[in-house]
Structure formats: structure tokens, C-alpha cells
Amino acid sequence: MKRTLIFISLLIASTALLFAGGNLLLKNGTILTVTRGVIPRGDILIMDGLIKQIGENITPPPGVKVIDVSGKYIIPGIIDSHTHIALAGTNETGSANTAEVNMRDVLDAEDTSIFTAISGGVTTIHALHGSANPIGGQNITLKLKWGKKAEEMIFQQTWPTLKFALGENVTQANRQLSPGEERRYPASRMGVVAFIRRELERARNYLAEWDRYQELKKMKLLNRPLLPPRKDLQLEVLADLLRGKLVARCHSYRADETLEFIKLSHEFGFRIACFEHIPEAYKIARELAAEKIGISVFMDSWAYKVEAAEGIATMPAFCTQQGVLVSLNSDSNERIRRLFNDAAKAIKYGGLSEDEALKLITLNPAIQLGVDKWVGSIEVGKHGDLAVFNEHPLSAYTRCDLTIIEGEVYFDREAYLKERQEAQKASPKPKATGGDQ
């Protein structure tokens, strides 16, 4: 009996350690839950990092910090499902297939872009390998706990994802070759599909080779020496994709090549979680909805290269209305702090409802990352990840004042401005040196 008690208390202690979030009570805010409507004046209690109670006039348990947010708006922490921040490096360009590289190895917790992001209410990001190769690397999802160690930022519960890319970037269509330099294979859209097919075929053979080895090992035949196959990290990752342990995130622009990639996924039986950017998504919205493949897109950025020529401002709204799971991404360490502005544009261009617009930057990216059970809306039991705005977050005049992750405040505009002022007082502007004068 005593032993069980000890065991249980140990277990509790260890889970508490695993999830050591903060305690916080936000009072008197307008709560935009995203999934359960709007509470005009309400409180949110976060205990041990999880939302414990949403309602009115919640009494703070002893020792819990209270922040009064009267007149302000609370939304779920914003999720950017396509970024390259908090990383030391974006692309491994040494090969057209770099499935073996993992963004987990190059986290940079001191990237100041993290601070930029939380100043715009972003709490979760998907940090991806770049789009230099048809098969890129393994990506990672992070909570933007600015000031914490890289390991503490990793969002463990997300799906492991593998980056693919199609089109002009991987064919290096816009790259000036030096004299004497050869163009890398694949250099055409058809080449890209053929290349990915060849690599997946290799992964299939690799799986078969290991299966054969396991069989032989079981048989314990013949006194013949048996050697395991060579462990190939690149093929291990692609094999995991075929086994369903990883999902694909594919950078694509044109409708035709996107459909080709969907065909490939059928041929090899792997899952595509999401297409990235895809300005032509409106041309294949029905197909995407039927396949249950999400898209992570720019709100209103197109025509910056040939394959981006046919973008339209109503695309995110139209695709949403067609039943596609749409999220808005920044893909930028600067625009990441204005995602709420982007969401608002989907109301103007295409007529989404407020909830639908907010979902583009909260719940939908959470679903695309496989973590909607934990984040993406304000519900009891979910992580205490919130962003507090001074005005309605879809207003053009709004700004983010507080960003909270798992009950801890990581961005407090007022405190930050004060800190900055004091720092300026302590060390006045350095004398300008150099320059043209």
C-alpha cells in the first residue's frame, strides 16, 4: 500500500515535471474562443499551464497571479505553420534529397525573430527546412518560449513532418549558373516528380531489404554468415514516411504539379498534411477538400515569380468555403508579427466570418500540425496559450499587448517598453561612427 502511494506520488511528481506550466488568471477580457463563440466579459484561469476554467467572476486560487485585461481581447495564441525562424540554417543544398537532415539539430533559441513573433501574439511555429530540394529535411514545431532553452521549446505532441518542394525553387529555374557550372538534376517539373518517385522507390527497396534480413535472421539457416544491411539515414526517413510515421508538407505553386504529387502519395501510400504557399489552390479546391489535404498560404502575396503569377486575394476565403483546411503563414521573420492583419483581410476579400478568419491563424494550423487537441482555441483542458490585444484582433488599429504560453507571460508590451526606456537611460545612444559623413 505504502509502496503504491510512493509510486503514485512519484508519478504525479514526474508528470508535473513534464508539464511545469504556470498559473495565471486573466480577468474581464472579451474572449474570442474561436470554437465556442465570444464571451463579452470573462475570465480565464490557467493552472499548471493548462486552461482550467473559462467563465465569469472566477476567484483566483491562492498564490495565482491575476492580470486584469478589462477592455481587451483574448484570442488563442497564434500558430504559424510555415516559418524558418529559431534555426541556425534553412537549407542543406548539397543534394537534391536531404531527408536525413533534421531541423531539431539546429535550433537557435536566441534568434531575436522569436521575440518579434511573440510581439505579434504568435505562440507556436512550425520551423521547416527550406525549399531548395525536392526532398528537404525533417521539420520541428516549437512553442516560442523566449528566454528558455531550445529543448524546452519543442512541441512534442506534433506530427513529425518531412518537407518536400516542387517547382521553380528546386529546379533552380531562377538561379544564374556560373560559366562551366552544370544544372542540378532535376531541372524540370517532370524531372522533379520522377526524382521523388525514384527516391521513394529506393526507400521501398530499402524496407524490403531489411524485411528480407529479418526473415533470414529468424530462419537461422545454413551456417552462413549474415550481415545486416547498411543503415541509411536518408532512406530510414523516407521509409518512415512510407510506414506512416511521418507526414509530408509540400511546397508547391502550380495546380498541375500539386495534383501530380497527390498521385504520388496514392502510388506510395503516404500522407500529405499540407501544401505550402500554393497560390493556385483555388483551381483545385475540390480535389484538396476531397483528399483532406490542408493548405498553408500567404494571404495576399503573389506574382513575385512566374509560378506565382496566378494568385488571387480571395483564394484563402474561397478555399475555406470549398471545405479546404486553410491556414495563413508568414514564411518571414518580419511578417510573422502581423498574421492577425492577414486574417482580417480574409473577411474583406472573400467574406469569411470572424471565427473563420481567426481559425486561419489558430485552429486550422493546429489541425495541420496534429495538435488541435492541445492548442488552437480557448477551451478547458487545452494549453494556456493566449494573445491579448488592445482592440479587436481583426481591427486594422489593433496591437498585441500580452503573449502567454502555458500560463507564463513571454511578452508584455508595457513591461518591455519600460525596460527599453531604462536601458536607454542607462546607456545613451552611442556616438555614430563610420558612415558617409
Binding site: L87, A88, G89, T90, N91, E92, T93, G94, S95, T98, E100, V101, N102, M103, D105, V106, L107, D108, E110, T112, H129, G137, A150, E151, S178, P179, G180, E181, L222, N223, R224, P225, L227, P228, R230, K231, D232, L233, Q234, N333, E334, S427, P430, T433, G434, G435, D436
Partner: protein, 536 residues
């Protein structure tokens, strides 16, 4: 009769062993000296007898017989320390010549094998050319032993431990090879050209070495019905480190490198030592859990990735002067095992100054002494014959007036392998003859994407350098420029198309040229510069 036999015996011993010893000199008796050799107790008034390169006897004055043939060294008021071991240097390393000029216009880098070698099979010993001035400079600060490691490539090769005892490299070798050296760098142009690629490359190499070893072992046992492995020098060189757990030294330039090294060590069960690690205190918990020893470089420059380096020059400078010097002191408080090295420092006197600064920042002098004697001896596997003043060990001894790490201390004599070196004051007035980098330079940066031409305008005031880097994309200010000896370092915030990143330049300056590397987030590029003649 008995006397005769023992006489014969010793004669025999002499005949057999003496010709083989490396450095043989006169016999010395250092008398009346204080002997400090932690963890052994201090001897306030002692004697050390040195014969045939070894410490023949050591003990309290009066209890040790002074041999008749010994040259007496009167050391009243002086302290004898074990010769210091500098456990990570790139001393005597002749930089491999840059590949011959490429065909005009061809900016594409050449094939990997022709460029940065990633060569676990490289023994750095084959690349060394001893320089007397380097030896003298290290003797001046009491260093008698150095680990020399190769410095290019991800697998840069295998290191050697040298006693700085003279002219010939063969005489200097104490242990070879010592360890395999791994760096978190990238290959230019080819795979892997990113840090994440380097990690994958390291993992794949370790897997392949283990597989190759298994194949080889299986084939040796049962050669029938098994195809023999294709000979592979690269993998064969890795086997002792991956399979037999010989030491692997990872150079860690920042806290994330330390975590990367810990991960690899755990994944492949390597016997690792982490070198560099000048912000190791920031990952103290992880290091404690991993129980990995360190070779801490006394280089106080915050890494370019550090939060201390990205928030302006004032914070960076303060960190360099106050925070980073306390690294070793913090590690001592955490109870971690570490040696101190000069990796990344331009010369011996900076090393000495930085040892003093680390002590000023809270590192107990005794810990510093251990970290330069007995600890590196243990970490490098030579503590049975090096690292302390004990009978039978190699006679590496420093005789100092005052305390060795005290700025007022004066190192007067150094024995290396029993050979006496009298210390003369460093040649004065090195400064006026020092280089000036002031003027205009044409800079070529070679990156994976090709070459980039820029111009650089430098001004110099003492050792501090400022100026501008000018390219077709804009003009960027050169910050925290420092010229130390021939080594020029500076950083530039480069702004291209709305993106800003820090580039840290480090180069070696000759009169009219300089060359070196540029660290940018996620990679390293090379740069060369030539002076633009002043137009009249």
C-alpha cells in the same frame, strides 16, 4: 661481488635503454625550492633530481641524496611546478596550400576531396613544422607540452601530444595519435553545406564505420560465403573511435554545439571530450548530466550566435570582459572536470593573460594549475608519466620566482624531457613593428553560391580596427575589429534584401594580403583580401 653485479646491471640498463631515450642531458638537482604539484601535498623546501629526461627523485630537502654528477640549481625563494599542458592547439600547423588558382571565370568550387579535407585518417603529425619562436613563447609562460590538432574539416584528423623539447618533431612526440577531432563546420559548395547536414553526415559516418567494422569482423571469423568488405580508409580510420571507444574531441563553438556533441556522444556511445566550449556554463546542467570532460578554451569572445553578441557592441564588449572570463570559475562551482587551453587565441602571452583573467573572475589558482597539469594528463591518457612532479615521470618542470599565475611571477627556467631552457624576456617593442591593416582592400568571399567581390576600408588605432565593407548591396559598418598579432577579427551586420545577419570575420594578415573565414548563421565561408594600392 654484489656491488659488481648491480654495477653490471645498471651498465646493462644503460646500454639497453639510454640510446632509445629522446632527450638526454646533464643531471640536475634543483635544491631549496618549493614544490607545488596538485593533488600532491606542497613541499615547502624540497629537492628535485632530474636525470636522463626523467624525474629521478623528489622530496624534502635533506632526505634526498644529491648525485655527485648533478648540476646544482639553487632555487631558494622559487617554486617548481609541473610543466603546463596546453591540451588543444594548432601549433606548428602548416596550412595546406590553397588549391591552385581555378580557371578564370570558374567560380564553382572544386570537388570535395580537393578542397576542405574531411579526413579521419589524417595524422596531424605528418603536417607539422616546428618553429623555435612558438616554442620559446610557450616556454615563457611555462607550457612544456601541447596537444596539436588539425583544424580543417568536419573530421579534421587525429591529434598528437608533443613535448616542446627542441628542434626535431620526432623527439617531441609523447603520444600519437591522441584523439579524433570533430568540428561542427560545413563543406563549401558540396554536401554537407549546412550545420544540419553536418550532423546527418556525422551520424551516417558513425553508422557506416560500425557497419564496416561488423562486416570486417564477421568476414574474418567466417570468410566463406561472405563477400569481403571493400577496403575503405575513411571508415577504417573511424573504427577505433566508434567501436573501441578511443577518445573523440569535439570542438564546440557555442552552447548549441555542446548540446549537439552531447547528443552524438550519447547516440553512438562515444568517449568524448568537448573542446572550445567558452560558454559551457550556459549548459552546465546538461554537461553535469552527460558527465563529459572539457577542454575549455580561454577565448572570451562571445560566439556570434550568442545573445550577448547580437544586442549591440556595448553588451558584447561587456560580456567579453566580464561574463565569458568567468566560464571556468562557473564550471568549477558546478564540479565539472576541465582542462584549460589556448584554442582560438593568437599567441602564448594572450593565453597567460587570460589565465590570469579567469582567476580574477573567480577560478581558484589551484584549480587553474590542475586544469593545466594533472587534469589534461588524465584526459589525454598520459597521467602515468606526465602531469605531476613525481619520481619516474617525465622531467617537465617550471621554475618560477613567485607564483606561476601571478602577473608578477617570473618564470626563469623550464625543463622539458629533462632538457633545461633558460627563459629570456620576450623581445620588447614587438608592437611598433606590428602590422597595420589601415587602407583599402579588395575582398573575395567564396561561398557555396559562388564568389562575391567587395571592398573594405579599414582604419586602425592601436589594435582596434574599424571601417566599412562596401558591396553592390550596400555599405556595412565593421564592428569590434581587433588586430592581435597577425590575427584580424571583426563582425559586420550584413543587410541584404531586408534580411539582416551577423558575419564574423577571422583572418590572418600578411603585409599585402589576408585570408581567413567568415562565420554566418548556419555556415562558414572563406575570404581572401588583397591590398588596393593607394592611388597618388
Amino acid at each position: 661481488m654484489r656491488i659488481k653485479i648491480s654495477y653490471l646491471l645498471s651498465l646493462l640498463v644503460c646500454l639497453f635503454f639510454l640510446p632509445a631515450t629522446a632527450a638526454k642531458g646533464p643531471t640536475y638537482a634543483i635544491v631549496n625550492c618549493r614544490i607545488v604539484s596538485p593533488p600532491l601535498p606542497v613541499i615547502e623546501k624540497g629537492v628535485i633530481i632530474i636525470r636522463d629526461g626523467l624525474i629521478e627523485a623528489v622530496g624534502i630537502q635533506g632526505k634526498i641524496d644529491i648525485p655527485e654528477d648533478a648540476q646544482i640549481i639553487e632555487a631558494e625563494g622559487m617554486t617548481a611546478y609541473p610543466g603546463l599542458i596546453n591540451a588543444h592547439t594548432n601549433l606548428f600547423l602548416e596550412e595546406a596550400q590553397e588549391p591552385a588558382q581555378q580557371a578564370p571565370g570558374a567560380t564553382r568550387p572544386q570537388a570535395p576531396a580537393e578542397r576542405t579535407p574531411t579526413r579521419p585518417d589524417l595524422h596531424v603529425l605528418t603536417q607539422l613544422k616546428p618553429r623555435k619562436s612558438d616554442i620559446d613563447n610557450f616556454h615563457r609562460i611555462g607550457v612544456t607540452t601541447v596537444l596539436v590538432a588539425p583544424q580543417r574539416g568536419i573530421f579534421s584528423g587525429q591529434s598528437v601530444l608533443l613535448n616542446l623539447n627542441g628542434e626535431k618533431i620526432e623527439d617531441m612526440v609523447v603520444k600519437n595519435p591522441v584523439a579524433l577531432h570533430v568540428q561542427f563546420v560545413t563543406e563549401r559548395g558540396s554536401y554537407p553545406n549546412s550545420l544540419m547536414g553536418t550532423m546527418a553526415y556525422l551520424r551516417q559516418s558513425f553508422f557506416d564505420a560500425a557497419h564496416y567494422a561488423e562486416h570486417l569482423a564477421t568476414w574474418k571469423k567466417t570468410p566463406r560465403f561472405l563477400v569481403r568488405p571493400v577496403y575503405n580508409a575513411f571508415l577504417e580510420a573511424l573504427i577505433p573511435f566508434v567501436v573501441e571507444r578511443k577518445p573523440v574531441i569535439f570542438t564546440c563553438n557555442n552552447q548549441e554545439d555542446i548540446k549537439r556533441a552531447i547528443r552524438l556522444t550519447q547516440e553512438f556511445k562515444l568517449q568524448a571530450i568537448l573542446s572550445g566550449a567558452n560558454e559551457a556554463w550556459r549548459v552546465g546542467e546538461e554537461l553535469k548530466a552527460a558527465k563529459l570532460p572539457l577542454l575549455v578554451a580561454l577565448n572570451f569572445r562571445p560566439p556570434t550566435t550568442s545573445i550577448y553578441a547580437t544586442r549591440g557592441e556595448a553588451i558584447r564588449r561587456q560580456a567579453e570582459q566580464e561574463i565569458y572570463p568567468a566560464n571556468a570559475a562557473e564550471l568549477q562551482k558546478l564540479g565539472l572536470t576541465f582542462a584549460l587551453t589556448s584554442l582560438g587565441l593568437s599567441d602564448a602571452s594572450t593565453f597567460q593573460k587570460n589565465i590570469q583573467q579567469a582567476i580574477k573572475a573567480g577560478l581558484p589558482a589551484e584549480t587553474a594549475l590542475k586544469a593545466l597539469t594533472v587534469i589534461p594528463a588524465q584526459l589525454l591518457g598520459v597521467d602515468s608519466f606526465l602531469g605531476t612532479i613525481e619520481a619516474g615521470k617525465i622531467a617537465n618542470i617550471v621554475l618560477c620566482k613567485g607564483e606561476i599565475f601571478d602577473p608578477k611571477g617570473e618564470i626563469q627556467k623550464v625543463w622539458v624531457d629533462g632538457r633545461l631552457f633558460k627563459i629570456e624576456k620576450a623581445p620588447e617593442a614587438k608592437a611598433p613593428a606590428a602590422l597595420s591593416v589601415a587602407g583599402s582592400w579588395r575582398v573575395t568571399i567564396s561561398s557555396p553560391m559562388g564568389e562575391m567581390e567587395m571592398t573594405m576600408e579599414l582604419e586602425q588605432e592601436g589594435s582596434s580596427v574599424r571601417g566599412q565593407l562596401i558591396s553592390t548591396y550596400g555599405r556595412w559598418e565593421i564592428r569590434s575589429g581587433q588586430l592581435s598579432g597577425q590575427e584580424l577579427t571583426f563582425t559586420v551586420s550584413i543587410e541584404i534584401m531586408g534580411q539582416t545577419f551577423e558575419a564574423a570575420f577571422q583572418g590572418k594578415v600578411e603585409k599585402e594580403t589576408m585570408e581567413g573565414t567568415v562565420q554566418i548563421p548556419g555556415g562558414t565561408a572563406d575570404f581572401r583580401a588583397t591590398r588596393i594600392p593607394r592611388s597618388v
